[in-house]
Point group: C2
Chain length 372, copies 2
Amino acid sequence: MLEKEIVKTQTVRLFSAKNPFQFECGAQLPEITVAYETYGQLNAAGDNAIYVCHALTGSAHAAFYNSPEDKIPGWWHNFIGYDCPLDPRKYFIVCANILSSCYGTSGPNTIDPLTKQVYGMNFPATTTRDMIRIQKALLDYLGVKRLACVVGGSLGAMQTWEWLVQYPDFIEKAIPIAGTAKGSPWMIALNEIARQAIYNDPNWNNGNYENTPPNDGLHLARMIGMITYRSHVQFQERYGRDRVKNEPENYFDFKNWFQVESYLHYQGDKLIKRFDARSYVYLTKAMDLHDISRGFASWETTLARIQSQVLVIGISSDVLYFPEELQTVCQQLQDLGKDVQYVELVSKFGHDSFLIEYDKMNSIVNKFLNNK
Amino acid sequence: MLEKEIVKTQTVRLFSAKNPFQFECGAQLPEITVAYETYGQLNAAGDNAIYVCHALTGSAHAAFYNSPEDKIPGWWHNFIGYDCPLDPRKYFIVCANILSSCYGTSGPNTIDPLTKQVYGMNFPATTTRDMIRIQKALLDYLGVKRLACVVGGSLGAMQTWEWLVQYPDFIEKAIPIAGTAKGSPWMIALNEIARQAIYNDPNWNNGNYENTPPNDGLHLARMIGMITYRSHVQFQERYGRDRVKNEPENYFDFKNWFQVESYLHYQGDKLIKRFDARSYVYLTKAMDLHDISRGFASWETTLARIQSQVLVIGISSDVLYFPEELQTVCQQLQDLGKDVQYVELVSKFGHDSFLIEYDKMNSIVNKFLNNK
């Protein structure tokens, strides 16, 4: 590892009153603020760029450190960095906070310049297609002529699929990981219970809150999510039936959590300190609305648009985006003669394996991306 | 089908001040009311009885009709009845509402005779072992000398496992279906998010409510449960990405549910009309505390107690009690020389298949129970 490298998150305002951003839902905004980070240098041809799409609660801070005091690097730091598959000495890597998130890019928790109030639920409904159209505008602004690769896991994979269909001739390679080309009813069901947990919080108030956010609701939404990001095998190995207090006299005490309960509550506590419930509602809805074929004549004509070389990574223990869902779309693409391969990351860690199993994932990605 | 058969739910008070019911947690109550139904006649030897253990939100009303006006028969009516595996012309079938439920048997929503108030969270913590000890007292009261079979699905299977260990020489055959011998951390995690949904409801008030129950919380708890009772394949086939309103102008409307969301909300609405949130908390906690080996020297010595012929039914698409969990305990029992077999019910309907796939299940059970 080289010296601790500092990369600041930058912001840029894109679009204008003359050229407003047109949401898929029909609404438009004259200005979108985008928070982003870049690692490495864009080459003269402008074609060594990699765009990294982040997941539900991610941010632009994908790698390295924002300040010398930071103890924890970016969220994908073992995947992006020196001697990693996404090496900034070779690639110009860009990651931006997604539309409707709460880490610097415009969304329901930013101030509406017209009313001087937080947008709240007045912010336009957001889709994965909206997200990647803004990412394209950012890449244009940065001078990128062509993407060597677009990559992302979970909601990041959904954006990757949209990239492939919306800008087919702009992308050399793509790696959607543990995420589907359209949202399944299983995922929608799980997202709806998370949203309902937020809606049930009296502090939700239809998104009209300032100092008293619906923390109990967001806490529970995160607990729900965390279960689906892991697996029963991992829970068994890690927590078993261990209790917080192991004395026999505490055995029947309702308040004496099993360790797995304590873990979920801990994750809930962590998220409410760093995330906004409105963004959680908007982004889970974007996942539900996600369907790369929207507006096209058929599923087949949609897939037929794809021109890139695609590596689809499924995770064997994923209970949110089951491997067979990803295999199915790969098979459909292969039947259309597309250059698509499916590789399964075999892991017990479930959906989140793409943030945990770096040895396995980096090996799979290096082969595809860097021919090594 | 014969004429519409009417069976009334009966109640009996068991135990007494001199012989109180001793809960596993140490508390005791002088009297336990038990609501139960029976189908068929006990033979002279008292050994043709089958005990049916019900699941989380079930009741004693397992089969036939409670009144001529009833349109819907008992919850396991295609499994219990004439020409069904549990045929009342052959067996004396007993099903009682479980301890801490809300269908007539004592629990947290019944009146404490001392305070004249609802017990609420003052009701003793309840375990599956407590449940089956009360069931044994009921069978003694009814004159049953020996069980030809004990059978149940889900939480009913957990009780069946407890029966096997607590009363090994009382049981000829047993059929635990889609339920484990001890609660897994995966199940505990899912139960905790359901409980947390209830706790987050301002009407919960630590179980102190009368006319304003925490319906929003219980509604959400049920939505969470329903996801885990089904499967992603069944959701895909049944609901796909269909919307309640399918017009394009409603596409981006947050309130225009996908059909799968509408289904979950419908199930939530149904449950709050018939179930009590306190019982939901007590019974899910009983599932978490469930461990047949509690108090015994080891897991092996616990399993070694079992003397019955056991058919374990796992469900291929069950994401709550994964087939491999059931296979593991079967293997352990077989290694101890026990007469145990595992059969997998192959279905796309998930955990709830034991309430849906009667053709498959009845065929499996008939072979084991009735040699046909």
